[in-house]
Amino acid sequence: MSEPASLACREQFASPEQQRETSTIGMWVFLASEVMMFGGLFTAYTVYRVSHPEAFAIGSAGMDIWLGSINTAVLICSSLTMAFAEESAQAGNQKLLGFFLVATMLIGCLFLGIKFTEYVEHYHEHKAPGFWFNDTSPYARYVQMFFVFYFIMTGLHAIHMIIGICILAGLLYRTFLGTFTSIYHSPVFVGGLYWHFIDIIWIFLYAIFYLPGLHQ
């Protein structure tokens, strides 16, 4: 196993600071490309909502606000435990780092469990788009479109969550190997950036899917 000092400054870098900044920039550039990917969906949603506001209000009224709100709080809590994991890595406390990584993964799994419960609810209420979809309002065609956006965007978000949990599992494995020290821990920070980014996406998904139908 490589020494922490050599991991912290590989031969292509002039200093550990340069290596850290390079990996951080790499992750932020990737996240900017993710903004573009989710951005396309957010833009399409906005166009449809501006064109068919009544249908989207009806669609949103069918959301479970309690499960949505609890899930938002759950994800915010996972961001806090991830931030604590980063802080523990920085302090060189491997036990706490492992603990907070496991806590973040478990809270992430809780989020996915709640999301799955919601999907099952939507399915039984005939809100899943396709031949199974059933809506009696005059705007049924565009209410279905609301749910198309809902399932694609929250589904893509859930896929990101699953990838995020896999990344955390990788970080946890390397923590058990003793790779991360107070000198070298940038992978924890970079993984944390990805995790917090998923949180940001959900904050907007919550605002556009759950809130518009509340005052109907």
């Binding site: 806090l80 931030a83 802080e87 920070f189 907007f204 005052h215």
Partner: protein
Amino acid sequence: MTEPHVVKKTYVFAWLGLLGLTLANTLIAFLNLGVWSTVIAIGIATIMASIVAGFLMHALYETKVIKIIVAGGVIWFLIMVSLTLNDYVTRGWLPFPGK
């Protein structure tokens, strides 16, 4: 550029702020404020996203290059939304078919 060192207290305040704003956003959404409902919902979500990016993702503590990349992602997204809506919203403004 050395690594940003954010103290636990800052993370806890950010977390409390995010939970408070989630509650505020949910409660305000029960009021019928017309078009302002959407503006407020997206506005609060934007503040929450800024807190996550600024403190939990350390964007506020990072170098100028990283701040420019963050700003670039946001600005390009806004260009995409505004130019697309510029087309869709203004359709039908002129009394000519197809304009």
